[in-house]
Amino acid sequence: MPITPDVILFVVFALIAVASAINVVVQTHPISSALSLVGVMGSLAILYLLLGAEFIAAAQVIVYAGAVMVLFIFVIMLLNAGTESKKGRSFMVQLLGVPLLVALLGLVAFFVQRIYYDTPRETVHFGGFTGGSAQDIGHALFTTYLLPFEVTSVLILIAIIGAVVLARKEME
């Protein structure tokens, strides 16, 4: 694989994403964890952008990094949650944690290896995908994926109504 600016950017932001993801778990304070999650979302958005999906990248930042995570941080601030203690882990976690992690990473590496060698290399290269504009996504959503799209919107509506019902019960 030739080293182009795209590849360098990919490696940099992939590393930031992984480092932030590890930081989410390692940090003891909820605010620090939540901010690391914002870092993961942001670097993912840039990876989408590198792959040519600019609409998905913008939606990722607006919805996940912008709205969802701000809400997380808002709730943490409102509850004024303090630092979590690192003690009190169960025996199973201490015994099986590291072997299971190694096993998981091994499995992921195995499948990545298989996919990489099974598919021709031309399919995965930067700038190869051009169907990521807002127009393409909208067209796909309202033709090919109309049923899943409508079902999802009904699902979200049910969730909203459920949240309102639960909140009202609490108030009475």
Binding site: I31, A58, A59, I62, V70, I73, F74, M77, L78
Partner: protein
């Protein structure tokens, strides 16, 4: 390719320099406007008519002691102002100030980057800007800061919804997300601007957008995050020196961004209100010439001793600018820039006008207004616009 990089670097430098100067002088303009609304002269001592006041303020802010209280969460406390100013300045990079022009044989747009998701980029940057304020409030470890940060994040999340819905309606008509193409679709006369454009004039969207913009930038009557009579200074209570200045600049940069967005989305961007064939290209020269004549007249009949020296100088400067607007070689880029600045400047003036006129909301009224009134109205407006666009096409 090399020419592209050089031109982009030059443009970035010019935009940054002009923006920073505008930020400093916007504050002078605001103090003057509010002073005149309240019938007092405003800044008057530093330089003629207080014109050097921003410079003095910058020197004061840079040389002040930079205090970091011992009880703050240091990494986040230091990151918050940086985050706020970065996100505020980021959106300017996609705002077009004029059409594609030719400079020394190179064609270049009067814009740093014409993204095909420009509108979404501005929304994304503004939604990330909440972090700066929320984290500043939380990391300061101070109850006033915390309440200010909480209020501001709740307010910004709430008003982002009607704002996005208000933006979506004119996008349905223009059928593009690129800010440059958005203006190109509104060319012609004032009747083609989205605010008056058929099938459904977007006046309702415009009003919703402006109200939400006031809330998004934490301005009066929505300035509860920094309500000084109850919260000291809100989220930036613990900040001093340049860190305080960063929040200040971020607020003004956000004001410029939302005003430019309103101009681009609803008021036709850099397009003149009527075609140049009917003499719209003479308007800027006439306005500046009139300003020059008025300044010269007041210089001749000066009320104050100092004005006999300063006002004639201003008059001659204004007449010189009027002359520049008549030169044919600069008209191609100066006229669009004038109209863009005039429209954006008018909305910025409205920001100050409202600040000098209206009292503050109560907090529950503020949230109720966003969710129970503004959001349904924006939804209805989007629905009606969508039906009309579908019906016409």
């Amino acid at each position: 390719m090399d020419a592209f990089i050089v031109i982009t670097l030059i443009k970035a430098f010019v935009v940054f320099a002009v923006l920073m100067t505008t930020l400093a002088y916007l504050q002078w303009v605001e103090r003057k406007v509010i002073a005149h609304i309240q019938v007092r002269p405003g800044p008057y001592r530093v330089g003629p008519h207080g014109l050097l006041q921003p410079l003095a303020d910058v020197i004061k802010l840079i040389t002040k002691e930079d205090l970091i209280p011992p009880y703050v969460n240091k990494p986040l406390y230091l990151a918050a102002p940086f985050l706020a100013i970065t996100m505020a300045l980021l959106s300017i990079s996609v705002i077009p100030f004029g059409p594609v022009i030719e400079v020394f044989g190179y064609k270049t747009a009067m814009q740093l980057a014409d993204l095909n998701i420009g509108v979404l980029f501005v929304l994304a940057a503004s939604s990330m800007g909440v972090y700066g304020i929320a984290l500043a409030g939380w990391s300061s470890n101070n109850k006033y800061s915390l309440i200010g940060g909480l209020r501001s994040s709740a307010q910004m999340i709430s008003y982002e919804l009607p704002m996005s819905l208000a933006i979506a309606a004119p996008l349905l008509i223009s059928n593009t997300l690129s800010l440059h193409d958005l203006v190109m679709k509104q060319q012609g006369s004032i009747l083609n601007w989205n605010i008056l454009h058929g099938p459904f004039p977007q006046i309702v969207s415009f009003i919703i957008f402006i109200i939400a913009a006031f809330a998004e930038t934490n301005r009066v009557p929505f300035d509860l995050p920094e309500a000084e009579n109850e919260l000291v200074a809100g989220f930036h209570t613990e900040y001093s020196s340049m860190k305080f200045a960063s929040f200040f600049m971020a607020e003004y940069a956000n004001m410029i961004t939302v005003s430019s967005m309103a101009t681009l989305l609803f008021l036709g961007g850099w397009v003149a209100p009527w075609p140049a064939a009917y003499g719209s290209s003479l308007v800027p020269a006439l306005i500046f010439a009139a300003a020059g004549v008025v300044a010269l007249y007041h210089g001749a009949h000066a009320a104050r001793q100092r004005d006999t020296r300063t006002l004639p100088v201003f008059g001659i400067i204004f007449l010189g600018i009027a002359g520049i607007f008549l030169l044919p070689m600069v008209q191609a880029w100066l006229l669009p820039l004038f109209w863009f600045c005039a429209k954006t400047g008018f909305i910025l003036f409205a920001f100050m006008w409202v600040r000098g006129t209206l009292p503050r909301f109560r907090y529950d009224q503020l949230m109720g207004f966003a969710w129970k009134f503004l959001f349904p109205v924006a939804m209805l407006n989007l629905l009606v616009t969508g039906f009309l666009v579908a019906w016409v096409s």
